[in-house]
Amino acid sequence: MAKIRGSIVVNVERCKGCEVCMVTCPTGTIAMAKEVNGKGYNYAFPANPELCIGCANCAMVCPDGVITVYKTKI
């Protein structure tokens, strides 16, 4: 059976570390970085990239339009 795989790209310097994407992600792909970006925010990043299904929920709830989402069948 074909499997859906996704991948997100986070524009790190635009992230405000609000965590809204992290709690919305149904697969636990996203975590907040221990490091901060130039604005001092702990930015979101795909900590478990292999789990992403490309559903785009994270991008839809991100107020700052930080996340771009890709999806494919393998």
Partner: protein
Amino acid sequence: MVEYSGIKEIIKPVNLVYKKSEIMTENTLSYCPGCGHGTAHRILAEIIGEEGLQSEAIGVSPVGCSVFMYNYLNIDWQEAAHGRAPAVATAIKRLLPEKFVFTYQGDGDLAAIGTAETIHACNRGENILIIFINNGIYGMTGGQMAPTTLPGMKSSTSPYGRDVRTMGYPLKITDIVATLPGSYYVTRQSVHTAANVKKTKKAIRKAVQYQKLNKGTCLVEIVSNCPSGWKMTPVQANKWMEENMFPYYPLGDLKTPEE
């Protein structure tokens, strides 16, 4: 641009499923982390892009946290004095009837200082779309009580909680607008989850299409958060909103055109 990405092989144009609308400018939004204003802007930008309205749209921005909205969507704008956006939009639409004219207003702007403009524009059935961001507080000026602040809710001017005996009850202005013969489509939505973002997008798209019919005023309320004014983290604020704002301001359509 510093980026952090997942599996690299998947990242190519043919696999793209979501990116920020090109109607959004490159300016960084001035909003606090997790503020629903940004999400609402993004949805509106997507619809303006998808419906091909970039050169037709004229927005009227309010006074409130979204006062600089004209910096964020690459369309034509007019800034209005506090609360006066529906009056300004009335003039623009009457002078340029072919344009898609909308206002974007907070609850302080729309339901406090601008109550008269809101009610009368809707009662006249002006052919404009009003997008109403109800976060139950004056966000911009430091979290003062708004007409929409919930009973018992603390704000900087109701530090012991809103006491309805002296401060009155929260104003459900959207419900009032729905009773006016001039309003055509009135709905209440939210933007804090992906499912709600999809519903709000559908509602705004409908409102934009209804606007072309010139059958009256459309109003889309978005019950939203103000993490800073509410003194919560964004995630806490969204949960608090579900538990406290939605019972008082239930989501759903308040008036739909007879089809």
